[in-house]
């Protein structure tokens, strides 16, 4: 794998992360942003590297995974940056409401510890604008979701471009 192969997923992943951060854009194509980025990254790879057709399924999956990974890293980065600058986020804002809600239940040890972790995360974010645990949790969940959506996008992209090439050749 050369550097040029990483470039398309990197650019498209970054683009997807930017778009998922812009609220107005997210309203239009929320769950389609990452799959579309994977489709575009395959197209970009073909244009930059003059890759051969037909695109192999393995390559499409690889591009989907890479686009999803980059999108996850960048979107987590943007989230962390915004949290650092504002010293708050929707998690911190929702926590008091959750605590008030949960007060009616008798918590067992596990839930008590979870709540303690949540409180610590909220305290860290308010005090320093950063919580390592929050970063870790966000990164893992973003990687999980974006990689899956990226793989689907990669496969759809592969199918679209292979079909187009077949039509052109015929």
């Amino acid at each position: 794998m050369n550097r040029n192969q990483i470039f398309p997923p990197l650019v498209c992943g970054f683009g997807a992360a930017v778009l998922t951060t812009v609220p107005g854009v997210k309203n239009f194509a929320c769950c389609l942003i990452v799959p579309m980025a994977a489709v575009i990254s395959i197209n970009l790879d073909h244009r930059i590297n003059k890759s051969a057709f037909p695109i192999q399924a393995g390559k499409a999956v690889f591009f989907g995974i890479m686009t999803g990974l980059f999108a996850a890293f960048f979107s987590t980065g943007f989230d962390v940056l915004m949290t650092y600058l504002t010293r708050t986020n929707d998690f911190v804002e929702a926590l008091p409401q959750t605590e008030a809600f949960i007060a009616q239940y008798k918590l067992n040890e596990l839930l008590d510890q979870t709540m303690a972790i949540f409180r610590q995360m909220s305290k860290d974010i308010i005090a320093y604008g950063f919580s390592a645990f929050y970063l870790f949790a966000m990164l893992i969940s973003n990687i999980f979701v974006n990689v899956i959506f990226g793989i689907f996008g990669g496969l759809v992209g592969m199918s679209i471009f292979n079909k187009r090439t077949t039509h052109t050749q015929n």
């Binding site: 309203n27 959750t98 239940y105 918590l107 839930l111 949790a137 979701v145 759809v156």
Partner: protein, 169 residues
């Protein structure tokens, strides 16, 4: 178990195309089922400390793929779903097709045109509501989402089967 042959039965089944197809469809069905269950569990399950606490993070997970605007989200049992009406439609459309694909193991058509056609109602709805031609309706968003989600899932399944099941024969 009387012979080593009986041990090989599941292996033989999963290495032939029909077995692989069934395995792939089953895995996808459970994946979509778990994803859809995650969207609604907070509204469907009886309220408890577990659901309240877990919803804080689960909402964040779904936030990666949906704007989650309250005005565009269904509410059930006093709790909002974790994704908007259109996304709910997309994922439940996929779930319906995944169930159908499990019941009828027929080969799915890999028609690009079907994918394009299913996008049209959703695009018209998005453009019309944005342009103010008519007001946003959760029901229309749900229905157009179901069309799109079912077509996309059928297409992805066909692509997966073409590339990972049929080609390995």
């Amino acid at each position: 178990m009387t012979s080593s042959g009986s041990y090989n039965l599941p292996v033989k089944f999963l290495t032939n195309p029909a077995g692989k197809k069934l395995l792939l469809r089953t895995v996808l069905f459970f994946a979509v089922l778990i994803w859809c269950a995650g969207i609604v569990y907070n509204s469907v399950l009886p309220e408890s400390a577990y659901t309240v606490l877990s919803s804080v993070f689960v909402k964040k997970i779904y936030g990666a793929v949906c704007h989650q605007r309250i005005a565009k989200t269904f509410k059930f049992n006093g709790h909002y779903f974790f994704v908007c009406a259109r996304c709910t439609g997309i994922y439940f459309g996929a779930l319906v097709v995944s169930i159908i694909s499990l019941i009828s193991l027929q080969k799915l058509p890999k028609k690009m045109m079907l994918l394009y056609i299913s996008t049209v109602p959703m695009l018209i709805d998005v453009i019309s509501t944005t342009a103010g031609i008519y007001n946003y309706s959760k029901l229309i968003a749900l229905i157009t989402g179901i069309f799109f989600g079912s077509a996309v899932f059928a297409y992805i399944l066909a692509v997966l089967e073409n590339n990972f099941v049929d080609k390995s024969v």
